[in-house]
């Protein structure tokens, strides 16, 4: 697992990342287990749903136009350079985990300003050609002036979490939980019946 989390061997900032992770682990076994904190370093959106407070945002993302293209970290973590990526992740991870463990999560969360900048940069990272080229005028009218001094989601309010925010906005979740592997999609009774059928072909 660590292999996936850690940056390439021989890169000079590998030590930094190891160090930061070490601090996180130092927060104690209890918290790590409770919060599945290590999985926060992964790029799998399911890692974020380890905290139930993240399920509403997970589910709204799951129902958004971006599900197939952008995972949580594509938007919420800087991608300008890889040091920044892991630094931001670790910092954020610590912050979220602390809040979570203290059960201090607010009903309606907001991105902190630092996060907002990160996200805005990421929107632009993917869409730069579409929103800056005058040649796409015919396709996307009026991005010229607007895009620079406003946040993308002021207009694109549905992207990607929809218009309604807050941890109680989604009551029943069937979001998958990555650590939850005991169930398959075939219910037990049916598996039994099928196996029965296979073992003793039906006789009339």
């Amino acid at each position: 697992m660590l292999k996936n989390i850690l940056p390439q061997k021989h890169s000079n900032w590998r030590a930094t990342a190891v160090f930061l992770i070490a601090i996180m682990m130092g927060l104690g076994l209890f918290m790590a287990k409770e919060a599945e904190i290590v999985s926060y370093m992964s790029d799998d959106p399911k890692a974020c749903v380890n905290c139930h407070v993240m399920t509403p945002v997970y589910n709204s993302w799951m129902h958004s136009s971006h599900r197939e293209w952008a995972s949580c970290n594509d938007c919420h973590v800087p991608h300008d350079n890889i040091v920044n990526t892991y630094y931001f992740k670790a910092k954020d991870g610590l912050f979220h985990a602390s809040v979570f463990t203290l059960r201090a999560e607010p009903e309606v969360m907001f991105m902190r300003e630092a996060s907002q900048e990160v996200v805005q940069d990421n929107c632009i990272r993917c869409h730069v050609q579409q929103v800056t080229q005058t040649k796409y005028d015919g396709w996307i009218e009026t991005h010229g002036a607007n895009r620079t001094d406003r946040q993308c989601w002021e207009c694109h309010r549905e992207v990607p979490h929809g218009r309604i925010h807050g941890i109680s906005t989604i009551k029943h979740n069937i979001a998958p939980i990555p650590t939850d592997t005991e169930q398959t999609v075939i219910p037990e009774w049916l598996e039994q019946k099928i196996n029965q059928d296979k073992q003793s072909p039906h006789e009339e």
């Binding site: 599945e36 509403p56 136009s65 599900r67 989604i170 650590t179 999609v185 219910p187 009774w189 099928i194």
Partner: protein
């Protein structure tokens, strides 16, 4: 730990038992999902070719009576409507006849499979093959709840789940393991339990005589793959009344055709369009009002497409119109082919002379039906639908040219007279259906047999009180 706590954060009002077939009982716990589900009872929306309105397809297009002559579909065929009506509609259709009681009627019990959450319950109680055995009428008092929660959900975790063995077995036949399906794939696979091509196999080893429900996917899901499958086992659904061709009926290959389209290619699931998120009073939930997305473009399409609703609807209609244009052409030729083949028989053609021709008719109509029967296919996958129709147009041409030569040989070298089939009634009269009797028998059935079924079911279910939590 807290994660599990999260899973069961809501306080259940009732304990839903594993095979609870009654949607209203689940609705106690999940009112929003249930309330939206209940809206599938609404029949007010009609689009260019879809919608929830009752649409008599034979009346809209009497050609079909000829295409299906000798088969149940020529008696009665309506476009599917909301899940709420699944049980009512199978009672009502003339295809299921007017059984007087257990053991009677034209249809096997297998017909129930895709109509109700009572099905998994019964399969669990009696076994799978046992469920498929006997007549449809035998289980009339057991299957009464229309398609619902227990068809798609696990009652404990609410996870999506596969409750129909046919889909699991079909995956096995392809060497695939359905338990490896991702969450996103499950959002289509629950639909693939029913919205697929199927047939009843009466020759399964060890289960001979039982009309076992099978999806013919062993060689693949394309129109050619399934055709090959049926040809290999020399299966036919019926022998055509006019042409005597050994026919195949394609039934709603919705999932199969969807898979060939660009939306599936991009990971868009059935539920994304037919069950989008909905907001109500600050709550988001999955809209269980499964219906034509054109009645809900804002949630169903505009999540991904920043186009105007009108334009998106027009995109859909344009693809449907273009498909229909060629479908109707193929259809017209098929009608002619059947009637020309009949003429050839009348003039004394031999089996040998007809063999290839009948095979052409079989294959051409199979292609027509594959493209036509999945009502969404001309949008779900317009390019594949067009390809399939084109291949049908090719085959029917080959067949009809052979027919023209054969007819000339038999002394008839001129266009064959076509009957007047400008209305459903005329077409049904032409193939000799006694509609009056079929309808009046049905009426008796609906007035005498069905009420008894429902009454008995009520008594039975009254004993299954759900456990209320305090």
């Amino acid at each position: 730990n807290r994660k599990n706590e999260a899973k069961y954060k809501y306080v259940p009002q009732v304990n839903i038992s594993e095979h609870e077939p009654r949607n209203a009982v689940w609705g106690e716990n999940f009112p929003k999902e249930y309330q939206s589900y209940i809206q599938t009872a609404d029949t007010s929306f009609a689009s260019y070719q879809g919608g929830s309105k009752m649409r008599d397809v034979l009346e809209e297009d009497p050609n079909l009576v000829i295409l299906w002559a000798g088969y149940g579909f020529s008696k009665d065929y309506n476009q599917g409507r909301g899940h709420y009506y699944a049980v009512e509609d199978i009672h009502n259709t003339l295809r299921t006849g007017a059984p007087k009681g257990p053991g009677d009627g034209p249809m096997p019990a297998t017909c129930w499979t895709c109509k109700s959450p009572d099905v998994p319950r019964l399969m669990n109680e009696h076994g799978i093959a046992e469920f498929y055995q006997g007549k449809w009428a035998d289980k009339g008092e057991e299957v009464v709840n229309p398609i619902g929660c227990a068809d798609c959900h696990d009652s404990k975790t609410m996870k999506l789940t596969i409750t129909r063995p046919a889909l699991i077995e079909a995956f096995e036949s392809m060497g695939k393991d359905i338990t490896q399906a991702t969450h996103q794939e499950m959002r289509s696979l629950v639909c693939a339990q029913c919205h697929v091509e199927y047939y009843f196999n009466k020759n399964l080893p060890g289960k001979e005589g039982t009309p076992y429900l099978v999806f013919p996917w062993k060689n693949g899901m394309s129109v050619e793959d399934m055709e090959k499958y049926y040809d290999e086992i020399e299966f036919s659904d019926w022998t055509h009344q006019l042409s005597k061709a050994p026919m195949l009926k394609a039934q709603h290959p919705g999932y199969e055709t969807y898979l060939t389209g660009v939306h599936a290619d991009r990971g868009v699931s059935c539920a994304d369009c037919h069950m989008p998120y909905k907001s109500e009073g600050g709550q988001k939930f999955t809209d269980h009002h499964i219906q034509s997305p054109l009645n809900n473009i804002a949630n169903a399409c505009q999540v991904c497409h920043r186009e105007e609703a009108n334009k998106l609807a027009e995109n859909v209609y344009e693809r449907q119109r273009k498909a229909n244009e060629n479908r109707l052409k193929l259809e017209g030729f098929l009608v002619k082919a059947h009637i020309e083949a009949k003429k050839a028989w009348d003039l004394g053609a031999t089996e040998d002379q007809m063999k290839e021709i009948l095979q052409d008719i079989r294959h051409a109509q199979w292609r027509w039906d594959y493209a036509a029967a999945a009502h969404g296919a001309s949008f779900h996958s317009p390019v594949e639908t067009a390809r399939v129709l084109g291949s049908g147009l090719e085959i029917v041409q080959k067949g009809r040219i052979k027919l023209a030569r054969l007819l000339a040989d038999l002394g008839h070298n001129a266009p064959v007279d076509m009957p007047d089939i400008t209305s459903k009634e005329k077409a049904q009269a032409y193939i000799g259906l006694d509609m009056e009797k079929l309808n009046s028998d049905k009426e008796v059935f609906l007035e005498t047999v069905v009420p008894k079924w429902l009454e008995k079911a009520k008594e039975r279910e009254a004993k299954m009180t759900p456990q209320i939590n305090k």
